[in-house]
């Protein structure tokens, strides 16, 4: 899209959002959305690493049948604590804030030509809520929880680990997510630049908008459910406890009512990222912009009516199971539409295989595996067999890791020049991508097979017949972890010590965020941009 804002001319020591104020307190008290992006980025990366370590400990124990590292994984209870930590850290503290709290914060005002989000102080407060929630979770670790991140009743309502503290931490983290979503909805409605109509918005904004709606309206449901778990623990309310006439499956209904839409919070922004990367590196307009927009909204909407597909074998009625199975097939349709749109965008394009594009293409492949295996699980007869096996574990790692996390890393590489003002080494980043991609598939393809062979999930040991596949998976896990470390350390090192300065618009993108300096000044734009074109006019002759 064309914009008429002045661009920053090269000079020595220009002022930008990174250097115009320095010192730790200037960062911790900053209401600048670009700085808040980094506050979140450092925080979530801590939990990515911690959650990853938990996973590697689990995978090391599982590498051989029988005890492998009994000094660390002493017994099944310890193993259960590790998979609980892995889930809680990765979901509530890493992927859910994920792209929205980082890249969403950085990019949304820039992409719509605004100076900041609608409520900058609320934005900073959301980050402090995140930190507060993380601290409460850390305190809860004194008597670590082993319920799994799903906190199912009646175990969670009766067991004597720090469940109340842990779910209260999740409640606080939930409010951080709600307020971020609320902020983004209002920002997108109220602060678009002149000429920026809804159907000229970049798909990342549409994706962020759909995500923000889910964040705002779904999260309160799990928040209240967790408060009810606390109520039951503290004063025996009798809602989920069958011995008191309660219904434990009700807890699952209420929990999954949020926890299914949350997977769309995780992956919709990644869809947006991929939708931004592919047109730029194919030098072609995004194919079927309107359908991409519609499918984003459709995914958010349909995502609210499929939750009980997590409960097919929990004891729900046949009627319920059939209903939720059918609608689960429905929700695959808008996602498939997106895949067609991305691939069609690449078709006959002039493709440049830079790192962001590699990640985007990797995403498309991995998410296709994810979506297809999801269809298997949506089939009732098949799910009865696959539920709670490694097949499910592999499926959701393909969606969450192969989808949301790959999307985050892709976005970090795509907008790194804008955020830091520097260019990273393509050699290192491409190597990291290769290691990560191969490692990821090596970790989880064996897990699909393990699941088909009947290996249950959340088990700390298994019969020796499963060992080969487990060993392969563990090797893959370490490769996977190494790949991530290489990719992220490359970016971190370049940000601090890199010498190659980034031009204003290294990839020749038409996005508004690329029309201002790299890195942007504190106020984002020197003059308010005016938008006159559609967002993806690559290779399209200018019309009068």
């Amino acid at each position: 899209m064309a914009a008429h804002s002045a661009s920053t001319t090269a000079g020595h020591e220009e002022l930008n959002y990174l250097n115009w104020k320095t010192g730790l307190w200037s960062w911790l008290s900053s209401t600048d959305h670009k700085r808040i992006c980094f506050l979140y980025l450092y925080a979530i990366m801590i939990f990515f690493v911690l959650g990853g370590i938990a996973a590697l400990i689990m995978r090391t124990e599982l590498a051989t049948a029988g005890p492998t590292i009994p000094s660390i994984v002493k017994d099944s209870h310890t193993y259960n604590v590790f998979f609980t930590m892995h889930g809680v850290f990765m979901i509530f503290l890493f992927v859910v804030p994920g792209i929205p709290a980082t890249l969403g914060n950085f990019l949304i005002p820039l992409m719509i030509g605004a100076k900041d989000v609608a409520f900058p102080r609320l934005n900073l407060f959301s980050w402090y809520l995140y930190v507060f929630g993380a601290l409460i979770g850390a305190i809860a670790m004194m008597n670590p929880v082993d319920t799994g991140w799903t906190f199912y009743a009646p175990y969670s309502t009766t067991t004597d680990t720090n469940v109340s503290l842990m779910v209260f931490a999740a409640f606080v983290l939930g409010f951080s997510s709600i307020l971020t979503g609320l902020n983004f909805i209002v920002t997108i409605h109220q602060l678009r630049a002149p000429g920026l109509t809804w159907m000229r918005l970049p798909v990342f904004i549409w994706a962020s908008y759909a995500t923000a709606i889910i964040q705002t309206v779904a999260t309160p449901v799990v928040g209240m459910t967790l408060l009810l778990v606390i109520a039951e623990r503290v004063f025996g309310a009798g809602i989920f406890d069958p011995t008191k006439g309660g219904d434990p499956v009700l807890m699952e209904h209420l929990f999954w009512f949020y926890s299914h839409p949350v997977v769309y919070i995780m992956v919709l922004p990644a869809f947006g990222v991929v939708g931004e990367i592919i047109p730029v590196f194919s030098r072609k307009p995004l194919f079927g912009y309107q359908m991409v927009v519609l499918s984003s909204i459709a995914i958010a909407a349909v995502g609210f009516i499929v939750w009980a597909h997590h409960m097919f074998v929990a004891g729900i009625s046949d009627f319920s199971a059939k209903f939720f199975s059918i609608v689960t097939f429905l929700v695959a349709v808008p996602t498939a539409i997106k895949v067609f749109n991305w691939v069609s965008t690449m078709y006959k394009g002039s493709i440049s295989f830079k790192t962001p594009m590699l990640y985007a293409m990797g995403f498309v492949f991995l998410f296709m595996v994810a979506g297809t295996t999801g269809i298997y699980l949506a089939m009732l007869g098949v799910d009865v067999y696959y539920h709670d096996t490694y097949f499910v574990v592999a499926h959701f790692h393909y969606t969450i890791q192969g989808g949301a996390v790959i999307g985050l890393i892709a976005a970090l590489h795509m907008w790194f020049p804008k955020m830091s003002g520097k260019m990273y080494s393509e050699t290192v980043s491409k190597t990291a991508f290769a290691v990560l991609f191969i490692g990821f598939n090596l970790t989880f393809i064996p897990q699909f097979i393990l699941g088909m062979d009947g290996m249950p999930r959340r088990y700390y040991d298994y019969p020796v017949q499963y060992q080969t596949l487990h060993t392969l998976s563990t090797i893959g896990a370490f490769m996977n972890g190494f790949g991530y470390m290489l990719a992220l350390l490359n970016l971190a090192w370049t940000a601090k010590f890199g010498k190659v300065k980034a031009p204003r618009n290294p990839y020749n993108s038409k996005g508004l965020e690329w029309q201002t300096a790299s890195p942007p000044p504190h106020e984002n734009f020197d003059t308010v941009p005016v938008v006159t074109e559609d967002p993806y006019n690559y290779g399209v002759p200018r019309h009068a």
């Binding site: 100076k115 909805i185 209002v186 109220q190 999260t219 209240m224 809602i239 309660g246």
Partner: protein, 227 residues
């Protein structure tokens, strides 16, 4: 063009010392006052939506527990103090009326009217909480309260569990609403802060208070009447 550090610093200083006259909207550096008003209103409605969804979980749990324990719910509901519940309903409805009036007063620049009407709403909130306390202590005396459950009334656990969760969380919101009306309505209005050009906090505070009333409009019949 990169701005000179001094120019930027002095711009910031100007912004900080920007004098806001009574009745003027506050200076927000990235939005004009019209956009800011629209943003604040949309933001508050979104927040109210999240509060409704919070209570929705308990309404759903109520529906399920009632489905499984219908006669218990009927019996237990008869143990609630209907006259006090109805009185509380009237109190909240009246306080909602005065909150709405407060907004009209603010729009007309009548700050004293804002103070008067929000204070009445605040007082109604207090009355509500007092009546609730009377109800709760009455229950506790009969062993129908958490921590002092009496075996005689254990059979009403399912109803009472959801009853205390719903009314307890609602009472918490009454307290929050009272605090909001004081900090963002009564106190600034005592300093003549509001006018027809700027009354956003009054409107938002009133919206929050109406939500408190809305939730009770559903709680009262379900808990006290239908059971």
């Amino acid at each position: 063009m990169g701005k000179d550090k001094e120019v930027m610093a002095s711009n910031a200083a100007v912004a900080e010392h920007h004098h806001v006259a009574p009745g003027d909207p506050p200076h927000i550096h990235h939005m004009d006052s019209s956009t800011a008003y629209g943003a604040a209103k949309l933001g508050m409605w979104l927040f109210l939506a999240t509060e409704v969804l919070l209570f929705a979980v308990m309404f759903c749990s109520f529906a399920v527990m009632r489905y499984y324990h219908l006669s218990e719910f009927h019996d237990a509901s008869n143990h609630l103090n209907l006259p006090l519940g109805a009185l509380n309903t009237a109190v909240l409805l009246f306080s909602s009326y005065t909150a709405a009036v407060a907004v009209t007063k603010a729009q007309k620049g009548d700050n004293k009217g804002v103070v008067r009407n929000f204070s009445i709403s605040f007082a109604c909130g207090l009355i509500f909480l007092v009546i609730k306390t009377i109800e709760y202590t009455g229950k506790a005396e009969h062993g129908m309260f958490p921590f002092v459950w009496n075996e005689h009334f254990y059979e009403y656990k399912n109803f009472l569990g959801i009853y205390y969760c719903m009314t307890g969380l609602h009472a918490l919101h009454v307290i929050i609403g009272m605090i909001v009306m004081y900090i963002y309505g009564i106190r600034p209005a005592m300093n003549n802060r509001y006018s027809g050009r700027y009354y956003t906090p009054v409107e938002l505070g009133a919206l929050y208070w109406h939500l408190v009333d809305l939730i009770w409009i559903y709680l009262f019949p379900l808990l006290y009447l239908v059971g």
